[in-house]
């Protein structure tokens, strides 16, 4: 089947294209890109006044399946992704059981093949059962279809094990993703440590817990000549460390979430558990530094850290609520409205951070670009559409999102995965 996308403003940071073009899709691949392509029996999507971008890739998603299907499933998470403009998502290994062996990776992939409407790529754990003791069989996991390795919210605290993981990953040219948190410093903490944690009487998570592990990882990555991706960067000190490391040509990339770019710790005044995540919302100074890092290119990627939780799990005392917020369906509009429309970053830079760069970091050669022969994964944006976030209309199984009722301008209009329109549904 042929699909023709006509008259869209095509923006592809990879090739530098930014012009009105038609895109012809055949057999799931991009077959032609030209100013005018004849419809010739193809189904036509009129993309006038819309922006056509390479499919968005979310490097940080929790799909909860297997094991916590009451929060999210591969199916519902993928629907949320499609609605949010994402064509590819990476799912973190903190499922039950942990994705630490071929069996779980294959289960996720087979389930995704049957039920998911976007590409689902599993991240396997670095250590067995995320226990930080023994390495997983990385070669076997890669062979089964895992794309990267991370112990996610239970980061490897043993520096020797992290060293070995990075060394071994080099053999496989695999990517290690780290959630940087020294648990001995953050234990019991529920929000950013500082003025507001003292004001609200909540236990703090100090900046140093992130900075120390970032520093350690950079040292180990340099020595191992490995590739490291820092998940959800949140503090100024860690940003500076990454900036220096990039100058030294250490192979490191970093991501930031929309919530860390838009909200600070002062918002916690209402003890709203939908503002509880890890890393926590940081100080205004950190938020400014993170925005600066996004502009300067110290941060490479925008990722959601989509972490769905059931309503009753969040409807509790702040201390008792689980960390994490639902993010797939709000990320694109949030960044368009609050960063692109406000001219903090350009639209091109945004697309680069949410498609081009993730594809590059993940070595997805046929994604993150609009070129003949590439996968026909496309995100089409309507920059003029105004939305009001309504958590009750989420496709995700969970509603734990702090942006309810926010008015935002700019939204995903059409999501195409492998040449097939998956959103609107």
């Amino acid at each position: 089947m042929r699909l023709l996308i006509k008259n869209g403003r095509v923006i592809d940071p990879h090739s530098g294209i930014d012009e009105t073009l038609d895109i012809l899709i055949e057999k799931g691949k991009i077959a032609d890109i030209k100013p005018k392509i004849d419809a010739n029996k193809a189904n036509v999507i009129d993309a006038s006044r819309l922006v056509v971008a390479p499919g968005f890739i979310d490097m940080h998603v929790h799909l909860r399946e297997p094991g916590q299907e009451h929060k999210e499933t591969i199916k519902t998470g993928s629907l949320a992704a499609a609605k949010g403009g994402f064509t590819t998502i990476l799912c973190m290994p903190n499922t039950e059981p942990v994705n630490d062996n071929r069996g779980v990776t294959e289960f996720i992939l087979s389930k995704a093949k049957k039920e998911a409407v976007v590409n689902v790529l599993p991240v396997a754990s670095i250590s067995r059962n995320q226990e930080g003791k023994e390495l997983t069989e990385m070669a076997d996991l890669l062979d089964a279809g895992a794309l990267a390795f991370s112990d996610d919210g239970q980061p490897v605290l043993n520096s020797h094990l992290m060293r070995r993981a990075l060394e071994y990953s080099k053999l496989l040219d695999a990517l290690i993703i780290d959630h940087c948190e020294d648990k001995s410093l953050s234990e019991g903490g529920v929000m950013h440590e500082g003025h507001y944690s003292y004001l609200f009487g909540l236990k703090g998570i100090p900046e140093s817990s992130e900075e120390i592990i970032v520093a350690r990882d950079l040292i180990l990555t340099e020595k191992a000549e490995a590739r490291l991706h820092i998940a959800h960067l949140s503090v100024k000190g860690a940003i500076q460390l990454i900036k220096q490391a990039k100058k030294k040509k250490i192979k490191v990339s970093a991501e930031a979430t929309p919530h860390h770019l838009l909200l600070d710790d002062s918002y916690l005044e209402t003890y709203d558990t939908n503002l509880k995540m890890n890393p926590p919302l940081r100080s205004q100074e950190d938020v400014q530094a993170l925005r600066e890092a996004v502009k300067e290119g110290v941060v490479d990627v925008i990722a959601t850290d989509h972490a769905p939780h059931a309503p009753d799990e969040k409807d509790v005392e702040f201390d008792k609520a689980p960390f994490g917020i639902n993010g797939l369906e709000t990320a694109v509009s949030l960044i368009l409205d609050r960063l692109v429309n406000k001219k903090i970053i350009s639209l091109k830079r945004f697309i680069e951070m949410i498609s081009t760069n993730p594809a590059k970091i993940l070595r997805l050669k046929n994604k993150g670009r609009i070129s003949v022969g590439a996968d026909a994964d496309l995100t089409i944006l309507n920059l003029y559409r105004e939305i009001i976030v309504d958590i009750n209309n989420f496709k995700s199984k969970s509603q734990n999102n702090p942006f309810h009722n926010w008015k935002l301008k700019g939204a995903p209009a059409i999501t195409i995965v492998g040449g097939k329109k998956v959103y609107p549904f």
């Binding site: 500082g194 003292y198 004001l199 009487g201 909540l202 005392e317 702040f318």
Partner: protein, 312 residues
């Protein structure tokens, strides 16, 4: 003057005049507890639930007596005896109690913000009787009443608060309250208990009790919890005592008529020497006495005044 809040969740959001309203109402209630028949009919027919998720004798008993002296009916629920031990959520517990149609819930909880959380879904008046490390509003109010009685006014007093400031809801409520009424506050303790960010609240901080106590009008000692030693907040009780115990020698440096306060329970010989605790300078039992009047005032202002204009 009317008190316009529906709940008493924290001192921080009260105005000085609202605080003074509570204090003057409390002053007018003091006399009731000295009568032979210690009861007035003011809150007859009102039902109050004491919902305590942490052990407490003083505060719970004080609220109970305050309610009874105003003729309200009060029921105690505590965590171990209730269905919370069976895994019921806080919200379900409160909704079940609300179905019994109380007028007010007095909440003590180990999680900061729990009373605020309850106030978001509950119809009754919520009174915070201490939440985690956040606030303990009635304690600060009774401390202020005691200071007013002893020192006539709070403005310009030099008040030193000593101990585990970081983990003290009493310290927080007192910082906010006494500052609103114009006092000068110096916080004292080892660095682990005294993050420098506390300066943002407009107070001074000092690691030396010897220095801070000079010229003080009041010294408020906080209970030191022995389990903090396990997290290495300080090396030993012995060393803590050497540095931060209020002793006769240290007390001499304060103003002549300075008073010694403590929210209780005291660790005798640790943060406060026994001779000082029992001396005429100690107003610790006065604080307890005033606690009843302050809690009567809070209950009355929230539940009693028909003239109460609007709920917030």
């Amino acid at each position: 003057m009317a008190f316009k809040h529906k709940h008493l969740l924290e001192i921080r959001s009260l105005t000085p005049s609202e605080i003074n309203t509570i204090l003057s109402t409390a002053e007018s209630f003091l006399e009731i507890s000295t009568r032979e028949i210690k009861k007035v009919p003011t809150l007859r027919g009102k039902t109050i639930i004491n919902l305590f998720f942490e052990p407490s004798t003083r505060t719970r008993g004080s609220f109970e007596l305050a309610a009874k002296r105003l003729s309200a009916d009060i029921v105690n629920f505590n965590q171990t005896a209730s269905s919370l031990a069976k895994g019921e959520s806080l919200k379900d517990t409160v909704l079940n109690l609300e179905a019994m149609k109380p007028d007010a819930l007095v909440i003590r909880h180990y999680c900061a913000g729990a009373p605020y959380f309850i106030s978001t879904f509950c119809q009754s008046h919520v009174i915070n009787a201490g939440d985690g490390y956040h606030e303990h509003p009635t304690q600060a109010l009774l401390d202020a009443l005691t200071l007013k009685q002893e020192k006539k006014k709070i403005e310009d007093l030099k008040i030193v608060i000593v101990g585990d400031i970081l983990h003290s809801r009493v310290a927080r409520s007192n910082i906010f309250l006494l500052q609103k009424l114009g006092a000068r506050i110096i916080l004292v303790g080892p660095p682990a208990f005294l993050p420098t960010e506390f300066k943002n609240f407009g107070v001074e901080i000092d690691y030396s009790l010897d220095r801070a106590v000079e010229g003080a009008d009041a010294i408020m000692m906080l209970r030191i919890q022995r389990e903090r030693q396990k997290s290495n907040s300080f090396p030993s009780i012995r060393e803590y005592r050497n540095l931060y115990s209020l002793t006769k020698n240290r007390y001499k440096k304060a103003k002549k008529n300075s008073i010694i306060m403590h929210p209780g329970p005291i660790n005798r010989g640790v943060e406060l020497s026994t001779d000082l605790a029992d001396s005429a300078k100690s107003v610790i039992l006065k604080q307890v006495e005033n606690g009843i009047a302050v809690r009567m005032a809070v209950l009355y202002l929230l539940l009693g005044g028909k003239e109460r204009e609007t709920a917030d």
